[in-house]
């Protein structure tokens, strides 16, 4: 930890990609440390990004820990800080502090099948696990990725997902049918039920809107997944990331330090306050 836990390091925007435009726009940023700083992270951890004069926001680190030159973040434009983010240009300097939170126990999953289930911007928090597993392909058995959004235009990381085909079984879906859409049409949980991934020696990792997660878990249970085989993340509102500001708790846990990653077996012990 740095001397001053609230003082961000500086990072430069090295690359910006517009994933989705419109009302719920998403842009993906690669940021590089200024002055050779930076930090290492694990899959599932987050960072507090600052725009000076606007404030801070907690964003999942969307790049694999295997990539050390930059960190990737995908930001949905929703409010004060995220809107300011969408105005940034390559070369602009932001603040960053972290990494915060626990991580996915990826090492425990070697030798297993992995089923990823993401919705909307919820692909970002699980993306480091997906890309790490694919980079270390021989360590894992089948890898499948279920990912869906409202419409084809709302799917993020489209080109990257296409590149994973071959290493992973990619199952895309959209909520509403559209001309030319050849893959599944319907909600993400329904696609999972349709394709019936086997729970045998499998870990399921899901992230997305709370309502999607709820039905994904129900459907996974229906397919025979045990609570210990299901992992998800919680995104309660956060300010400090350090277990001090008192905002992100679910029961006794400050999600910023004890989460955001939970197995369903752990999460169901906590009150439903997320």
């Amino acid at each position: 930890m740095p001397d001053n836990i609230y003082l961000p390091e500086l990072a430069r925007i090295a690359h910006i990609k517009e994933e989705i435009s419109g009302e719920r726009a998403i842009k993906t940023y690669r940021v590089e440390p200024v002055n050779g700083g930076g930090f290492e992270h694990n899959c599932g951890q987050c960072a507090m990004l600052s725009i000076f004069g606007r404030g801070e926001m907690m964003i999942s680190i969307a790049s694999s820990p295997l990539i050390t030159e930059y960190k990737q973040f995908s930001v949905m434009r929703v409010g004060r800080v995220s809107a300011a983010f969408h105005e940034l240009d390559v070369g602009d300097v932001i603040g960053i502090r972290g990494p915060y939170g626990n991580s996915f126990p990826v090492d425990d999953w070697r030798g297993k099948n992995l089923v990823f289930i993401g919705g909307g911007v919820g692909l970002a928090p699980i993306w480091p696990v997906i890309t790490t597993a694919v980079a270390q392909r021989a360590d894992f058995k089948n890898i499948s990725v279920f990912y869906g959004a409202r419409s084809p235009r709302d799917l993020m990381y489209k080109a990257e997902l296409e590149r994973l085909r071959g290493d992973a079984d990619i199952q895309l879906s959209v909520d509403k049918a559209e001309e030319g859409w050849k893959e599944f049409c319907g909600f993400v949980p329904a696609n999972v039920l349709d394709k019936k991934p086997s729970p045998n020696n499998t870990i399921a990792i899901t992230c997305g809107p709370p309502i999607m997660i709820k039905f994904v878990i129900q459907n996974l249970q229906q397919l025979g997944f045990a609570d210990e085989q299901i992992y998800t993340t919680i995104e309660n509102k956060m300010k400090c990331g350090l277990g001090k500001c008192g905002r992100c708790n679910v029961g006794k846990d400050y999600v910023c330090t004890k989460g955001p990653v939970y197995s369903w077996a752990q999460l169901k012990q906590l009150p439903e306050e997320y």
């Binding site: 003082l7 995104e235 277990g243 008192g246």
Partner: protein, 363 residues
């Protein structure tokens, strides 16, 4: 170190502290110590109808009931600047840290419930990772406490939450009123240093003084107070009552003003925001301010989704944090029984009643 201080001599002690070059301070770095020669003494002052701890002119008066505002602000001020920033677009910003000045505060007249409050705050701000700003301030704050010979108000309940009206927890010095004089006992090394600075204002306690001290403490503990009925059972009862309809019923009158937590000696929630003074170049301060779990937007996501949407869910959070979650994390309740949240709530929401009622209904 135990001494006797005549009540008329308290200002002499304060004067000695204010003049005394103080070399050692808890956690105070040598460089800071060299620039700090005084203790700034604060004591309860009535201003605009509110008792709070303030430094300044006038003689120190301790003959009053507990302050409206707890002394937590010495270590955790209502507003503090973390750093200032100045940035031209496309260039790295200039960040200037605003670490707290090494002013040493000796706070006189702190009551035992508020000493216990500091113990709770210390836990939060040192757990997981030490809070830079809190730690820097706290290491320069000393509490010169005053035992409560009588409960300070009708809503005191320290005895039922593991405290006591004569507790020295969180104190550096504990004074006890013996009529025309105080019995003054050092609790920490900082307390010893404070007393050593007073030197000749003190006299040695006699056997009779010690006997009177014991008797005074015994009587203080025997005074009737309000009570949480069964503190040890509270965590489990609250856990079992998470979905109880009682929460909404008990919270119905709440107007969400947040007084209950702002005035609580253990409430530590805060917000972090940028306050700007110029748009081009971008100039401003990153600021921490107290925040409040009784406000609806405390937990509301930008999407509008709110894990604690209703009044009942927010009352449940305040009460469960104090009597369940904190206990689960630190093995003690986060409430010290000061009674402020009861006395100052304009609609009569009463944490003692709430805990007792919820526990009773949990069976």
């Amino acid at each position: 170190m135990e001494k006797i201080l005549g009540k008329t001599k308290i200002d002499d002690w304060v004067a000695a502290l204010s003049d005394h070059p103080q070399e050692v301070g808890r956690g105070c770095k040598a460089a800071e110590a060299a620039t700090t020669t005084h203790w700034q003494v604060s004591a309860p002052v009535l201003e605009d109808g509110i008792w709070s701890y303030q430094s300044g002119s006038g003689s120190v008066q301790l003959e009053h009931s507990n302050t409206t505002q707890p002394p937590k602000g010495f270590s955790f001020p209502q507003r503090e600047v973390f750093f200032s920033f100045e940035q031209i677009k496309g260039e790295p910003p200039k960040l200037t840290q605003k670490l707290p000045q090494a002013t040493r505060h000796a706070v006189f007249g702190v009551r035992p419930c508020d000493g216990c409050g500091a113990v709770r705050m210390d836990k939060v701000f040192s757990d997981h990772v030490a809070d830079t700003y809190y730690t820097a301030r706290r290491s320069n704050v000393a509490y010169v406490g005053l035992a409560c010979n009588q409960p300070q108000g009708i809503n005191c309940f320290c005895l039922s939450v593991g405290g006591s009206p004569v507790s020295s927890d969180g104190m550096d010095v504990l004074m006890t009123d013996l009529g025309d004089r105080y019995f003054v006992a050092a609790v920490t090394d900082t307390g010893k240093a404070l007393m050593a600075a007073g030197n000749s204002v003190f006299s040695e306690p006699t056997a009779a003084d010690r006997k009177q001290l014991q008797q005074t403490h015994a009587e203080a503990i025997a005074q009737p107070q309000r009570a949480i009925n069964n503190l040890d059972a509270a965590p489990a009862k609250l856990k079992a009552s998470f979905d109880s309809p009682l929460w909404e019923e008990l919270a119905r009158a709440c107007i969400g003003c947040g007084v209950c937590t702002f005035l609580c000696p253990t409430c530590h929630c805060f917000d972090i925001n940028d306050e700007n003074t110029s748009a081009t170049p971008i100039k401003g301060n990153r600021v921490r301010t107290w925040d409040n779990c009784q406000f609806p937007d405390f937990t509301m996501h930008t999407s509008g989704h709110n894990p604690r949407e209703s009044l009942g869910s927010r009352l449940r959070q305040r009460v469960s944090h104090k009597f369940q979650y904190f206990h689960e994390n630190f093995g003690m309740p986060q409430c010290t029984g000061c009674g402020r949240c009861i006395t100052e709530c304009s609609v009569g929401i009463d944490i003692v009643n709430v805990v007792n009622k919820v526990a009773e209904h949990a069976g």
